[in-house]
């Protein structure tokens, strides 16, 4: 027992180490002026996507429920974070950013509760379809939402004329045009800190009593229930934390651009994050970090090659299917188990996905 515990905490420290090292190296390179402007502009979104991938991994890999509306929580976080940041004009950037991220994560968490409470009691693929529906609802609602700020507070309306504002009031969200005139508060350092916080939250959750309960639910719900694990409570816990982290990432993402439209957070974004998680390895936090960073930056770097830009999502789709078929291949699985092989690196982590059915054997 002690050995496994120390192993997991070492694993956790390696993750922190990777993130800190990457941050320091990038900072050093930036100081030397060795990073192009294109790459620099990608740093904050990459941080957001890494947080998104880790948080989605909590739902898909650790809890074992498929969420297809993760971008919906990101959207909630982005727009509420933008409103919060705009409402605090008189403060300096750092507290504004922190407040925005906090508001974003609260909005995400509320969304998570709203979706999770009815749906997590159901079994099967319903969560997938409801989260998908939820993402679309959020996108739909933000398109018709007009939010303005003035001395008296926040005004929200669906009237396309916008709310009646007092003198000096500003419009924050303009319906189909999305949020405009957003202060660019996000910075790479903030993204880095957010990743560390995410790692801290998720890793400590996974290694806690609650985390073990959550994984037990994934591996065998009936067995877990029979030893007294409260199914809805732990499912909701994982789901809401995941949604809150997505909200925080959304707030950071929203404050990185001067304008944001809700179609940025559509079904495609949710799938993109799912691709990151699956390719990094279900249940593997390190895998999520690495695959999100690589898969987000690589296509942007390869923009020069026309074919890759065009076929990017096609390639992702093929890889997604191929990975799923490979890790669930009975011949390969029995071969691995027979020889007690654990392929190092990516594939070893991927085996976790198949483990769900085996009731967690071999751990």
């Amino acid at each position: 027992m002690k050995r496994t515990l120390s192993k997991t905490s070492i694993n956790g420290f390696i993750n922190y180490g990777i993130v800190i090292a990457a941050f320091l190296i990038l900072q050093l390179l930036m100081a030397q002026g060795m990073i192009s402007n294109t790459l620099k502009s990608l740093l904050v979104p990459v941080c957001c996507y890494i947080v998104m991938a880790i948080s989605l991994n909590l739902t898909v890999g650790i809890l074992g429920e498929l969420s297809l509306g993760h971008a919906g929580f990101m959207s909630l976080g982005a727009f509420s974070g933008i409103v919060a940041a705009m409402a605090m004009q008189e403060f300096s950037p750092v507290p504004r950013l922190i407040a925005a991220i906090l508001v974003g994560s609260i909005a995400g968490a509320l969304g998570g509760v709203l979706v999770g409470v009815p749906v997590l009691r159901l079994q099967g693929d319903y969560l997938a379809i409801v989260t998908l529906a939820f993402g679309e609802i959020i996108r739909n609602i933000i398109v018709v939402l007009y939010v303005g700020l003035d001395q008296k507070g926040i005004h929200i309306t669906t009237n396309s004329a916008g709310p009646a504002l007092e003198e000096g009031g500003i419009m924050v969200i303009k319906g189909p045009m999305g949020a405009v005139g957003v202060p660019k508060l996000a910075s790479f350092t903030a993204g880095f800190v957010l990743i560390l916080i995410t790692l801290f939250v998720v890793q400590n959750l996974v290694n806690s009593r609650a985390g073990r309960a959550i994984m037990a639910l994934r591996d065998n719900r009936i067995a877990a229930e029979s030893v007294g694990i409260h199914v809805t409570k732990y499912k909701l816990m994982a789901f809401v934390i995941s949604a809150a982290l997505a909200g925080a990432a959304g707030a950071l993402f929203g404050l990185n651009y001067s304008s944001t439209v809700s179609s940025k957070f559509g079904f495609n974004t949710s799938i993109l994050i799912l691709v990151f998680v699956v390719l990094g390895g279900l249940g593997s936090i390190r895998g999520s970090i690495i695959s999100a960073a690589l898969l987000y930056i690589l296509p942007e770097m390869l923009r020069g090659f026309e074919f890759i830009t065009k076929a990017r999502m096609l390639i992702y789709a093929v890889i997604l299917i191929a990975v799923m078929l490979t890790i669930n291949n009975p011949a390969l699985k029995s071969l691995l188990e027979e020889r007690d092989l654990s392929l190092g690196g990516l594939l070893g982590k991927l085996k976790n996905g198949g483990r769900a059915k085996k009731g967690g054997a071999g751990q």
Binding site: V130, L282, A317, M324, N329
Partner: protein
């Protein structure tokens, strides 16, 4: 009169949803999987018809048949290549694979046929004027309703009377027992996919005739709405898909007419969430308690 015309629009839209939902519900009933790629098969069917009539000038009936044949083959191919190897895999893996297939079809179509929106030539045009011209029903709407009825009747007869249909019902009840009775489970599942995909082709042509725009993402949202219809009616139940589809079409049309066009999807999905909350098994589905 606008109320009546809304009802008619709703029913005809709902008929299309019902045909799509039948594909979802049959596959779900038998393979216990959510076939995400179903919506994109609709798109492929519509594209086939689009090219057959638009580019090669084939008569509408031939191009619809062509679309049906291509989609049936596509359905069997998808099932054989992507889903069959995952029969024993956890449902999460199957679901992710299905999403992968859906993405593959969408992006493949985008590469092959371009991402731009095309104008679909309806297979029938014109409309029927009733009550001194105050109520217009397009022939496409009538065709959609007729198709839906025919499909419903045929499927009901098929599943209750024929050997293959009985095999399907047996497989959806208990695969192991069905296999012991000498039913070839694999070919039965392939057959289900074939029927579902053929229906998807019909639905695709009807949908694009009623709303004549076509792009690689045309199928995805109607696919999700039709899935909502299937869940609404009770997933796995054929009359349920019919009822759910029609009701959803009416709800959507009314939401568009009386609430807001932008919010119609939100209303439809809110219906889904409420149904799952109040009656998770759907209107006509039966609740099956889990045995340990």
């Amino acid at each position: 009169m606008s109320f009546l015309s809304n009802i008619l629009t709703g029913v005809s839209l709902g008929s299309i949803y019902a045909i799509i939902a039948l594909g979802y519900t049959m596959v779900y009933g038998i393979a216990k999987m959510l076939n995400f790629a179903h919506g994109d098969v609709i798109m492929v069917g519509a594209f086939m018809c689009f090219f057959a009539t638009g580019r090669y000038g084939l008569p509408p009936l031939v191009s619809v048949l062509l679309a049906v044949v291509v989609c049936t083959a596509l359905g069997i191919l998808i099932e054989g290549l992507a889903y069959k190897p995952l029969r024993e895999a956890p449902s999460l893996a199957v679901l992710i694979t299905a999403i992968g297939v859906s993405y593959l079809l969408q992006n493949g179509a985008q590469l092959l046929w371009g991402a731009d929106t095309k104008t679909f030539t309806p297979i029938v045009s014109g409309s029927l004027s009733l009550v001194e011209g105050r109520l217009n029903i397009s022939y496409v709407s009538l065709l959609a309703m007729a198709c839906c009825l025919v499909v419903m009747v045929c499927l009901t007869l098929f599943t209750s009377r024929t050997r293959m249909g009985k095999a399907m019902r047996a497989c959806s009840e208990d695969k192991g027992a069905a296999q012991l009775m000498g039913i070839n489970v694999n070919s039965t599942i392939s057959m289900t996919f074939a029927i579902g995909s053929a229906l998807a082709a019909v639905a695709g042509v009807l949908m694009c005739s009623a709303y004549p725009v076509l792009s690689p993402t045309t199928g995805s949202l109607p696919g999700i709405r039709a899935f909502t219809a299937a869940v609404f009616g009770g997933i796995g139940s054929i009359p349920g898909a019919f009822l759910g589809g029609i009701l959803l079409g009416i709800i959507e049309t009314f939401a568009k007419a009386y609430i807001s066009t932008d919010l119609s999807d939100a209303v439809v999905f809110a219906v889904l969430i409420i149904v799952l909350l109040v009656k998770p098994a759907g209107l006509l589905g039966k609740y099956v308690p889990e045995k340990v």
